[in-house]
């Protein structure tokens, strides 16, 4: 996955992400595709959560999966979640949950609760930082005011790190699937290419077209990419495009 929160020259915030899923799950030698990734694409839909006929928040879902991986609370904040691999991963959390130790929350339910109950960027950030979970994760949160963007690196108990856009010293913050203070695995470095494309784009071109271009650039776009979602918090808009990576394209 690759998530980006970026701010244009006027202080308007945009949040976009590629959702990559299906690594090692059945490589189709003939078609050069991952079996699960292909099966997931037709399941993607935007869901408009409404109460009293009014939108509370909008999210991108795989049909049947009720947790949230990408969402916008119009005018308030945006959220995406990138997978964080860890030996002390969700596996242990599931076993604990089965054994009756249920203090940790399922990742997808924590994000949904956050969307429903948090009414500010800071509140969402606090909730995603402090709540105990079954599995580690990266939460990328964007707000509605200048400078509001962060990456929360989570282990199961708490945040290991909160990296703010201001700390990054840039007009954007970008996360793939590695701790930002460590180098990514060299065979899976989408971070460096994505940063280069962002720098090429420049802050003058921040907006849906510019960021979509970055997320459509190989290897940021790869054979695991199922969709690109684009969110603009002040307008409350969410647009999701199915993504395909024609050959030649790196498998992950």
């Amino acid at each position: 996955c690759t998530s980006i929160v970026a701010e244009d020259n006027a202080g308007k915030l945009f949040h976009a992400r590629n959702l990559d899923f299906g690594l090692f799950l059945g490589w189709d030698i003939k078609n050069h595709t991952w079996e699960i990734t292909e099966a997931l694409r037709p399941m993607i839909l935007n869901v408009d959560y409404q109460k009293g006929g009014k939108t509370v928040f909008k999210a991108v879902h795989y049909a049947g999966y009720i947790g949230i991986l990408t969402a916008i609370k119009p005018g308030v904040f945006t959220l995406s979640m990138n997978e964080r691999f860890d030996l002390n991963g969700g596996f242990i959390g599931i076993i604990e949950w089965i054994l009756g130790l249920r203090s940790g929350q399922w990742m997808g339910f924590l994000t949904r609760d956050t969307l429903l109950y948090s009414n500010s960027y800071e509140e969402a950030k606090k909730n995603l930082t402090m709540t105990q979970m079954l599995a580690p994760a990266y939460f990328i949160v964007g707000g509605n005011s200048t400078g509001q963007g962060c990456v929360i690196t989570r282990d199961r108990n708490k945040a290991v790190d909160v990296w703010n856009m201001a700390d990054a010293g840039k007009w954007y913050i970008l996360e793939t699937n590695y701790d930002h203070w460590k180098s990514p695995l060299f065979i899976d470095d989408r971070r460096t290419p994505a940063n280069r494309c962002m720098q090429n784009m420049t802050q003058n071109n921040v907006g849906w077209p510019g960021i979509f271009n970055v997320l459509s650039s190989k290897p940021v776009l790869n054979k695991l990419t199922t969709y690109t979602a684009l969110m603009q918090v002040d307008a409350g808009t969410l647009e999701t495009w199915l993504q395909y990576c024609p050959d030649p394209c790196w498998p992950f």
Binding site: L25, A39, G64, I66, E83, Q105, A137, T192, P248
Partner: protein
């Protein structure tokens, strides 16, 4: 397929948006939070039930092939105990999953496994 070996030289595209294939724009489904949780996903689960079933079957096959004995034990446990698991889950999610199971014809245990895919694959 690979085109190049790492480290990659990125190709920053400049004209990808909007994609010319309008069919790649995903549809929107309205979920009414005023409905009882068991009914919220009903229509969607009916429409997509067979696809969810196929996907879940693949998930389980790959998890079993790729994982170790513990993965299989967890999946078997959830499959067998599924119908009684909703008492251990927070609301409204327990009822939402039960609603999806009823509308799609899947077992509750299967819907729970499907909804745990993130946690399973973080290893």
């Amino acid at each position: 397929v690979q085109g190049q070996v790492p480290p990659f030289k990125e190709t920053c595209v400049t004209n990808a948006y909007p994609p010319s294939e309008k069919s790649h724009l995903v549809p929107t489904y309205v979920l009414n939070l005023d409905l009882p949780p068991t009914q919220r996903w009903q229509n969607l689960a009916k429409d997509k039930g067979s696809q969810i079933k196929t996907l879940l079957k693949k998930f389980i096959e790959f998890a079993e092939d790729f994982g170790n004995g513990t993965v299989n034990t967890i999946i078997n446990y959830l499959n067998k105990q599924g119908d009684s698991m909703d008492t251990t889950l927070p609301q409204p999610y327990a009822d939402e999953m039960r609603g999806i199971a009823t509308a799609s014809g899947l077992g509750l245990g299967e819907v729970i496994i499907y909804n745990l895919f993130y946690e399973v694959f973080t290893v």
